[in-house]
């Protein structure tokens, strides 16, 4: 069996039928991490119990015990998620060495389904960034071109998956952090509807925007992973009791007659020729499959970036009050002679523990929430957020799904990122509306750009109405089977 190409369902079936063992598959991926991760820096921690867990799983199978639908599937988990007994640091000095005493619900659901957790994956510090360069572990590299970023914040997840250091990964998406790296690395990424997936045990960034989801190699694998992690959780009061369909069994790539919305304000402003060409090709391709293209206008998407940064920074500044140097995490060095005031103790611990971008956003959020300014910034952004959501709901009266570009350009060079944060923030224009409105969104690999000797993947973004992950996945399944996407899948990244 080709473990680098096989569907998750095929691998787990082979393991359950004892054609291969879970130990063999786990060891296979451990060996790959050992050999290839030196080029990527995708892993922040490699499990030393994974083989043992695989052994236990093989024993269960040998005894004829029931094992779950992901039995033996080897997962990498973004470092933002708590994993019992494994460091979970959000790639921050603030949480350096933190080993949580419990699993995030996403992780416990994967384990219950039989998954083997191979380790933790690199990211931007506290998920704040879109290049994976703000990690305390150093930058992660794009497997298609090591001189380029894998995207972020879930850069380690996308890079590990593209290089097949894992069979599947979990990332999180607050403003595009699953979809953008998935597009940069040529893998499939899903951000579910807000409330679909429990946030329990996921180190919070912006609680009204954060969602975890799969970053995997195919739409089928995304469907299987998603149906395992979705569903109400008594540990997260914002999870929905909405029925979780068997997404993987219901996959249907027939999109004939589907109405596909294209946001006028987005396509008018695609700044990069590669992205514009790829998107035009995607439109032509789905038209050939019988879908109807409908132009929709959502003028407030032009304000999505300010709205997103004001709201996410405000929520972060409040969430991050928990890092006080007392209960867990970094504490400023001190001794009996230090004579610290309580304020000094907190401020030094936080000032030394957080990185530059995290501090920048905490300060932005503190300002946006402070007396005299909260009406003008935070509350104003929340009011426009309601109007934006209404414009999306109105657009979905005219179309079944919205299709668009994921990013403003293909993966950029490491270190090239402008020192101007505003310029970087504006690159999130195509992804942030989805989070602000709580909609499900997805990036599917579609075509490539050639830059010098490099081939760089380009994804296409799909957005569906709330809780319509099935139609999102179905449409993605159709795209995945088109000629350009199938041609892309024949290519292999440089690190593989």
């Amino acid at each position: 069996m080709d473990l680098l190409q096989a569907d998750l369902s095929a691998v787990t079936e082979a393991i359950q039928n004892k054609k291969i063992s879970a130990v063999e598959t786990t060891q296979f991926f451990l060996d790959r991490v050992q050999k290839l991760d030196q080029h990527l820096n995708a892993f922040t921690y490699v499990s030393n119990t994974a083989v043992k867990e695989a052994e236990l799983l093989d024993q269960k199978i040998a005894h004829g015990e029931n094992v779950g639908p992901l039995a033996g599937v080897v997962f990498g988990i973004k470092d933002l998620l708590c994993t019992k007994g494994m460091p979970s640091t959000a790639a921050s000095k603030m949480l350096s060495g933190f080993v949580p005493p419990y699993d995030a619900t996403v992780v416990s659901r994967l384990k219950k389904a039989g998954a083997i957790i191979l380790g933790k994956l690199n990211q931007d510090e506290f998920a704040m960034g879109s290049s994976n360069e703000t990690s305390v572990y150093g930058a992660c590299h794009n497997p298609w071109d090591k001189s380029r970023v894998p995207g972020g914040s879930s850069g380690g997840s996308a890079a590990a998956q593209a290089a097949r250091l894992t069979m599947a990964t979990i990332g999180t998406d607050t403003g595009g952090s699953i979809r953008q790296p998935a597009s940069f690395c040529g893998v499939v990424g899903v951000k579910p509807t807000y409330g679909r997936v429990s946030r329990y045990g996921i180190i919070a960034y912006a609680s009204s925007l954060d969602q975890a989801g799969p970053i995997v190699s195919s739409v089928k694998d995304a469907a299987l992973t998603l149906e395992t992690i979705c569903g109400q959780d008594s540990y997260d009061g914002t999870t929905s009791d909405h029925l979780v369909e068997k997404f993987s069994q219901n996959l249907n790539g027939n999109i004939k007659g589907k109405k596909i919305g294209v946001i006028k304000e987005f396509v008018q402003h695609i700044p990069d020729a590669h992205i514009a060409q790829s998107f035009q090709l995607a439109l032509d391709t789905v038209k050939q499959l019988g879908a109807e293209i409908v132009e929709v206008s959502i003028p407030l998407t032009q304000y999505a970036v300010p709205m997103y940064y004001l709201i996410s920074a405000s929520e972060a500044s409040s969430n991050f009050a928990r890092y006080d140097g007392v209960k867990y995490g970094y504490r400023t060095p001190h001794d009996k002679t230090s004579n610290l005031s309580l304020d000094d103790f907190y401020s030094l611990s936080r000032g030394e523990g957080f990185g530059a971008e995290v501090k920048r956003r905490i300060m932005l959020g503190t300002y946006a929430l402070s007396a005299g300014y909260s009406d003008a910034f935070y509350l104003k952004a929340c009011k426009v957020r309601r109007l934006l959501r209404q414009q999306f709901l109105d657009a979905f009266e005219k179309c079944d799904l919205i299709m668009g570009p994921v990013t403003t350009a293909p993966a950029f060079k490491l270190g090239e990122k402008s020192v101007d944060p505003l310029k970087n923030y504006l690159n999130d224009i195509f992804t942030t509306s989805t989070n602000l409105c709580g909609l499900p969104g997805m990036s599917v690999p579609f075509s490539t750009a050639r830059e010098g000797n490099s081939i760089l993947p380009i994804g296409v973004q799909l957005t569906a109405p709330h809780f319509q992950e099935q139609s999102l996945l179905n449409f993605a399944y159709a795209i995945e089977n088109t000629t350009p996407a199938a041609d892309f899948r024949k290519l292999k990244p440089h690190v593989y």
Binding site: F98, V326, K327, G329, L342, M363, R389, P421
Partner: protein, 96 residues
């Protein structure tokens, strides 16, 4: 609204946020903050009269789980992550 971002304001925000930041960081954050906030002020041009703020994006029903005692994580496990602990307590330096 004009946003007067000066050194004093940055220091004040850092104090509110309980962040010790260096002079170099202040010099670095000031122009960024100015630029970002001025750009973000474009939201002020939008009419939001009589619009309720949207705090959470999906209209979810609140629900309560059964109120029963569960023991998931022991005190020892929780204290294991603390920078310093003594017995069943978090230990901190004297601050008064």
């Amino acid at each position: 609204m004009a946003h007067e971002i000066n050194e004093d304001l940055i220091r004040q925000i850092a104090q509110l946020a309980k962040l010790t930041i260096s002079d170099e960081e202040i010099a670095n954050y000031m122009p960024h903050m100015k630029k970002v906030l001025n750009h973000f002020s474009e939201l002020e041009t939008l009419n939001t009269d009589n619009i309720e703020p949207l705090i959470t994006p999906v209209d979810l029903k609140s629900y309560l789980r059964e109120d029963r005692v569960e023991k998931n994580i022991s005190t020892e496990e929780l204290l294991a992550g603390a920078p310093s602990s003594i017995g069943q307590l978090f230990q901190v330096p004297p601050v008064i």
